[in-house]
């Protein structure tokens, strides 16, 4: 605990610059994520939402800037300490990114098997609990990813992300490709898990319904940086043209309306 307890911010990004060749994706990007909140990252296509996620989780080395997670700069750590920290978060990739040669239960057990020495019986029990917690049916554990629907793959991916009881969960477009009912159910699942497990959720999304339903704060990516962070009300009041168009467009009004009624 110690150091990270002092920091309200579980993730803090300062002056981030990422680029591919001469194409600069982020420049002087600052972002703070508070412990225990659900933050939604929005932005037009190509503004580098997923790139930001990759930079924070260390899948991509930034050209400049500092990224602290749990109050430590991960790039400065030696490899094994870095791995220790990496166990404290889970990532759900867009299509689940399940290992296709393993069953769902085995997928969930991969991080447990690799990082902890647990008896097989306990791993089976824990996998069963995770499978049920993410709302998968009882027979899903023994199935292979190719036998699952898109929604079930996402749930399985979430179960694997939660395998080591992480403190932060990164979600890359969790509701993309789901039907509206499935998407709403997935939103509720994330909210419920976040509340029971006390998770911090970092969510890249395009889905206005998700933003309205479960995000505590929203960060808008544009002009290579985070132009504004705030609650939904802040977004509605902001006068940046892109934000106005995004949050006052017809689809946004529809989402707001349906949530108001519900």
């Amino acid at each position: 605990m110690g150091r990270s307890a002092l920091h309200q911010n579980i993730i803090s990004v300062r002056g981030l610059r990422t680029q591919f060749g001469s194409h600069v994706v982020h420049d002087h990007l600052d972002l703070d994520v508070r412990r225990g909140e659900v933050i939604g990252i929005v932005g037009g296509s190509g503004t580098g939402k997923s790139v930001l996620l990759k930079a924070i989780t260390g899948l991509l080395t930034p050209a400049a800037g500092q990224i602290e997670v749990f109050g430590v700069d991960l790039t400065a750590l030696p490899d094994d300490e870095r791995r220790q920290q990496e166990r404290r978060w889970g990532v759900l990739f867009q299509d689940g990114a399940l290992f296709s040669s393993l069953t769902v239960a085995q997928n969930i057990q991969v991080p447990q098997r690799e990082h902890l020495k647990l008896p097989q019986e306990l791993m089976d029990e824990l996998a069963a609990i995770k499978i049920r917690m993410v709302g998968l049916p009882a027979d899903a554990g023994a199935k292979f990813p190719s036998e699952l629907s898109g929604g079930m793959r996402k749930r399985s991916g979430l179960a694997r992300a939660l395998s080591l009881d992480p403190e932060i969960v990164f979600l890359d477009e969790p509701t993309a490709g789901l039907d509206p009912i499935g998407a709403a159910a997935f939103d509720q699942l994330i909210k419920k898990l976040q509340q029971t497990l006390g998770l911090t959720v970092f969510m890249v999304t395009h889905d206005l319904d998700s933003l309205y339903a479960i995000c505590d704060r929203i960060a808008v990516l544009a002009e290579k940086r985070v132009i504004v962070v705030g609650t939904m009300d802040d977004m509605m009041a902001h006068d940046h043209p892109w934000i106005r168009e995004y949050f006052h467009g017809p689809r946004s009004r529809a989402a707001q309306h349906s949530l108001g009624k519900a």
Binding site: P119, D124, A127, A128, I129, R132, A142, T196, L197
Partner: protein
């Protein structure tokens, strides 16, 4: 999570006590995750099954929620795929293998017929031939393969001459090395090596190209636009290979004989002029034609299997990989079978 294994061991050894009522005091617990909550829940469940009352006390609000959530989700769940008897599994695999081989044979024969029909239609309506695509594949699969094909057959010709000369020297018949090289390269090795290289190089490329188009639903898109994938994708590739493989074999023949001639010169002292004289004197032109005639047939087989496997790709990128492997193995297999049939045929007609 990091101490969970020790805790699991301790709690698992804990037997249900004799007492009727057990209170599990959680007031000293500072942090609790799902794994920990599960262990408490499981222990309490074991106690309850031993007819004791088990209750949690002193749990903080968030820990209470977590415990309830774990309890609610404690339901039986399949973990391992069902396992079957070993013997039955083996029989199952053999049966499936045999059945799928038969299906494969039937459907590839169907595909063969389909290509012939579309090619016949192309002959009637030559406008339907995609010339650009065909020329592109002629360059890719034919022209660009020349360096590797000639290099390899040159080396094989050299090795053949060297090994042959060592054996023939025992009989004092070194000069027959020329016949050995000429006949084996022209008749068999030139065309077989070329076909195998092309199967590995271009047959696999055909499968991967068409397969990835299949994955991205490009083939379906073609069909909805009333374009025939056989006409667009398969026929140009088949024709390109059918035209180019004989030329490649010609190059391979030249290179193989050149390799043999070089070794004959350096290690046997047969000068290139002598080699050429002997070659022209003893080798019938028929030997050359036997090799060349086989080429378009092999080309057809390779391109057909490559395209067929490509069109069979389904769903994922993984399937592209599987099909590509399958395509190379299958086309080399068919080429060698066809070569055996040709060899019987040519002997029967007395060539």
């Amino acid at each position: 999570m990091s101490h969970i294994a020790d805790l699991d061991g301790h709690l698992r050894r804990l037997r249900p006590p004799q007492a009727r009522k057990v209170e599990i005091d959680l007031s000293d617990v500072t942090a609790l995750d799902t794994a920990g909550a599960w262990l408490f829940h499981r222990t309490a469940k074991v106690f309850r099954e031993g007819n004791a009352q088990a209750e949690f006390t002193g749990a903080s609000e968030s820990h209470r929620i977590l415990l309830d959530e774990v309890a609610r989700n404690d339901e039986p769940c399949d973990i391992e795929p069902p396992r079957r008897n070993f013997v039955i599994q083996i029989l199952d695999r053999i049966g499936r293998g045999a059945a799928s081989m038969w299906e494969q044979a039937v459907s590839i024969t169907g595909f063969f017929g389909l290509i012939l029909v579309v090619m016949a239609r192309t002959i009637v309506q030559p406008k339907r031939l995609r010339v650009t695509s065909m020329v592109h594949h002629m360059e890719e699969a034919g022209w660009n393969a020349i360096p590797i094909v000639t290099l390899l057959t040159f080396l094989i010709g050299a090795v053949l001459a060297y090994q042959g000369s060592v054996q023939l020297r025992n009989f004092g018949a070194e000069v027959f090395t020329v016949d050995l090289i000429a006949i084996s390269i022209l008749r068999e090795i030139g065309v077989l090596i070329t076909a195998i290289i092309v199967a590995g190089r271009s047959g696999s490329a055909f499968t991967a190209q068409i397969g990835s188009m299949k994955v991205h639903e490009e083939v379906d898109a073609m069909q909805t636009l009333a374009l025939d994938p056989i006409e667009m994708l398969v026929v140009p590739r088949v024709l390109a290979l059918v035209f180019m493989l004989p030329l490649l074999v010609f190059g391979a023949d030249l290179a193989g004989i050149a390799g043999g001639a070089l070794v004959a010169w350096t290690s046997l002292g047969i000068s290139p002029t002598m080699f050429l004289n002997r070659f022209l004197e003893t080798t019938d032109l028929v030997q050359f034609w036997i090799g060349i005639i086989k080429a378009p047939f092999f080309a057809f087989l390779i391109a057909m299997v490559g395209c067929y496997e490509g069109l069979k790709v389904e769903g994922s990128a993984e399937s592209v990989g599987q099909r590509t492997t399958q395509s190379v193995v299958e086309s080399i297999f068919l080429v060698i079978i066809a070569d055996a049939l040709f060899s019987i045929f040519f002997v029967e007609i007395g060539w």
